[in-house]
Amino acid sequence: MTDKAQVVIIGGGATGTGILRDLALRGISAVLVEQGDLAHGTSSRFHGLLHSGGRYAVKDKEAARECIEENLILCRIAPSCIEPIGGLFVEMQGDDPEYTEKWVSACAEAGINAEETDVQEVLKSNPALSSNITRAFKVPDCAVDGFRILWGNVNSARKHGAKVITYSKVTKIHQENGSVTGVELLNKLTGEKKTIECEMVVNAAGAWAGEVAAMVGLEVNVIKDKGTLLAFNHRMMNKIVNRLRPPGDGDIFVPHGTITILGTTSQTVDSADANKPERQEVLDLLKIGKEMVPEIENFRLVRAFAGVRPLYQPGSSATGRSVSRGFALLDHQQMDGLNGFVSIVGGKFTTFRLMAERTADLVAEKLAVDAPCRTAQEPLTDPVPEELLKRGKKVFGIPGAKKAAERLGDDFARVIEEAEQNAEKRQVFCECEMVSRAEIDFVARDEDCHTLGDIRRKTRMGMGTCQGTFCGYRTLGALNKYEKFARSHREYLSVFLQKRWKGIRPVLWGQQLREAQLALGIYCSLFGMERMK
């Protein structure tokens, strides 16, 4: 099978989907190719923090300025993906007061509104925080849902003719006379092969960018930097809390939807797939986190997870936190003499749109397309009408409707209709995260949905307190009627459960240990999973 497009984008993370949307809005035909499910990589394995830029203000003014500009743009174009809860930077006893002064003026220079606030007030509304806080500043940090931003990009791009191919690995990049001419794909689920002819290839593979560049014989030195994060069972505070000191491990708490995320660590790894959180990392994070939240050991952890940051610093041997969080757009025509191949590396989630804009500018220039970037103005998602929300509340309850509306966007109306017509569809399959059967059915029918994990990423099913113990088998039961979910039940379940266990194992104590015992009882004793066919 052969397809044609002007541009093939490799990598279905925030940057890749951002580029897809940007190109589509400029009228350039593009196909995005992703080796797994969308957002399975670093774009779903971060704090969920939309930086105000405060974190980088002292060390990297350029990155800080980019952050605050992008922060304001995303709040405007994608309000349904963002919780504008605001952040705090807290100085604690023993922290360097001179750094605080430096930080305050650095924020002012970068255009970040950092306003000092009363410490007692902060403690009163956030009783989990330590009374050793000496100063506190409010900044416009936000919590952001990486999944939703990604799907926002994809939905918008699709409306403008763009295509997305998931679970397909690029096996070869064709070149002729020093120009890229197409890519060869292997579908990991069906084994099918496919060729896409194109004029340009954009390498937006993040932590995998080095491997992609190697296919055309080029070297792109991406430093793979693993960051581990912890997810707590509930919101421990009502604002994002950053430690006011030079950026280090375990110094940001982000209340995010129903949970709180604490992170991160920083460690160079060999492989982009090295995203297994380790128990020692968890213990290290808790130890540092305890300084800001003294009772941290009494809060329940539901899991740990890790992402691999793709850092880029040409011609330097720096690693970890000393590497810039800035991004680089590599024009391989200029650098290596290969026409039609561009790599976008480094950066961070907050600036994905800007990275996409710069990349698309370069692509458009090379394709001689004269169309400006529109992603900073065009809304990413349309707000869900009040009337629909009201109808949703009747079938799913207040939080169920609100969360489903945020996740589903334009598709919310269809899911409500199903639930209104069929009472069975109103059943809540994932009770921890309020995901209805109607939503699960809707998502399962999506062409990009092939596993329980895909449904999980699109709905949050299995991401709450019980980590899939109850919703896992319920969802599987509903999938029974779809032909495309015809593989063995045991395989679906064990892949899903093992992925959950990967994050649970390093935090296996206290209530989560009881939870795990319950899960074990249900799957191994009640369902006899070992004997399941």
Binding site: E83, N233, H234, T258, K393, I398, T465, Q511, R514
Partner: protein, 404 residues
């Protein structure tokens, strides 16, 4: 939200034992169950205080969820607060305000109890009330006494004694079954204990169950003000109603964060718990007469929730000729105002069916239970005569003539 509750929230492992013990969820799918509106949605309420499932109104506040929870989660308290938030935002129907305002209804009825009692039995009036207020025309209404307990107490003051307790009679004894309160006063006097009373307000449980938390807190504050001097002087506060006991012992602290609530909790005691202590100290009079009485015993849900066991059993076992059959058939289903509501009457009767069958199967025509509302429901569902156990004890001491 205070820290302890947050931590209890983390204890929920979603085992759903609470759901399997919920009498409402057992008979209808209109209620999403205690887990959903309790610990599940509590996580959402930390972000959005109004995150409530509208089916919360089907919670009957029986507290079986909290009793059953093996993880120590305050499920029912979470549900009560959530219902309070829901009602504060959406308002409560006039019907709920009426039914919850037990004191107001009692004060109205005592103006002409005969007329009210008669009216409550006229089908036409009941059908009108059902059409206008959505109050079930089928549920038996409580009968109002011609004099309140407080009036009768003043007419029959117990002898002064050095040993004193304070009695919190509750609305049902005050307005509907003052004979229960009188029996209690006599039994205590017989054992050398003087019972003091004060005109308390409704404990607040009916208001809490209807989500009217602000009004309930008001009552709690008034009662606290009246109780304060007794608490400070170290008096024990005796109850005969399990719901009042639960309110004073637990809910004033858990729901309203009241100062001194923990001291109140230590001093509140069920009348039979009190008598049991007397018995253990060898101070209980045992001059019982032979009664030859066979009764069924129903344990009210709120007595379970208090967690004091069944103290009346130990005492009644001492009375010669009394045979108490534990009915052990779960919630009666009425849950205060719940079963009077038109849309919930059928649910309420369905919940109570097991209990009614147990009474009938054992061929009992007399039942004892501590809760006034359970008394009413059992009578409604079986036709049996239903008494408070203190009335049996008064009879055994030769102090009463209530048992027919």
């Amino acid at each position: 939200m205070n820290k302890t509750n947050e931590l209890a929230l983390d204890n929920c492992i979603k085992c759903s034992i609470c759901v399997t013990h919920c009498p409402v969820a057992k008979v209808t799918d209109k209620f999403a169950g205690p887990k959903q509106n309790g610990p599940d949605l509590e996580r959402f309420r930390l972000e959005e205080p109004l995150a409530v499932h509208p089916s919360i109104e089907y919670c009957s506040n029986c507290k079986n969820c909290e009793v059953a929870c093996p993880s120590g989660v305050s499920i029912s308290t979470m549900n009560c607060r959530a219902k309070g938030e829901y009602v504060a935002k959406n308002g409560a129907p006039l019907r709920d305000r009426l039914l919850a305002n037990v004191e107001l209804m009692g004060d109205f009825a005592r103006l002409m109890p005969g007329l009210v009692n008669w009216g409550g039995k006229v089908k036409l009036f009941r059908e009108l009330a059902e059409r206008i207020f959505n109050i079930s025309a089928d549920m038996t209404l409580p009968q109002y006494a011609s004099k309140t307990f407080y009036e009768l107490y003043r007419e029959n003051k117990p002898p002064v004694s050095a040993k004193k307790v304070v009695y919190f009679p509750g609305c049902y004894v005050t307005y509907n079954t003052p004979e229960v309160g009188l029996a209690l006063v006599k039994v205590m006097a017989h054992n050398g204990v003087e019972v003091l009373v004060e005109e308390f307000n409704c404990c607040g449980v009916p208001l809490i169950a209807n989500g009217l938390l602000a009004d309930a807190k008001n009552n709690a504050r008034n009662n606290m003000r009246k109780l304060e001097k007794y608490i400070d002087a170290g008096y024990q506060i005796v109850t005969s109603c399990p719901s009042c006991n639960l309110a004073l012992r637990r809910e004033y602290g858990e729901l309203f964060d009241m100062e001194k609530a923990h001291r109140l909790a230590e001093q509140v005691i069920d009348v039979f718990e009190y008598l049991q202590v007397l018995a253990e100290n060898g101070e209980l009079k045992t001059d019982f007469k032979h009664l030859s009485l066979t009764v069924g015993y129903h344990q009210p849900c709120h007595l379970k929730a208090v967690g004091c066991g069944v103290p009346s059993k130990g005492i009644l076992d001492l009375v010669p000729g009394v045979e108490v059959n534990d009915l052990d058939a779960g919630c009666c289903g009425l849950s205060g105002s719940y079963g009077f509501k038109k849309e919930k009457y059928a649910i309420s009767q369905e919940i109570g069916r097991q209990l009614f069958q147990a009474v009938k199967k054992k061929g009992l025509n007399r039942v004892i239970t501590e809760c006034g509302m359970c008394q009413l429901q059992i009578h409604h569902g079986t036709g049996a005569e239903v008494y408070h156990p203190i009335q049996v004890l008064a009879e055994a001491y030769g102090l009463g003539s209530d048992i027919k």
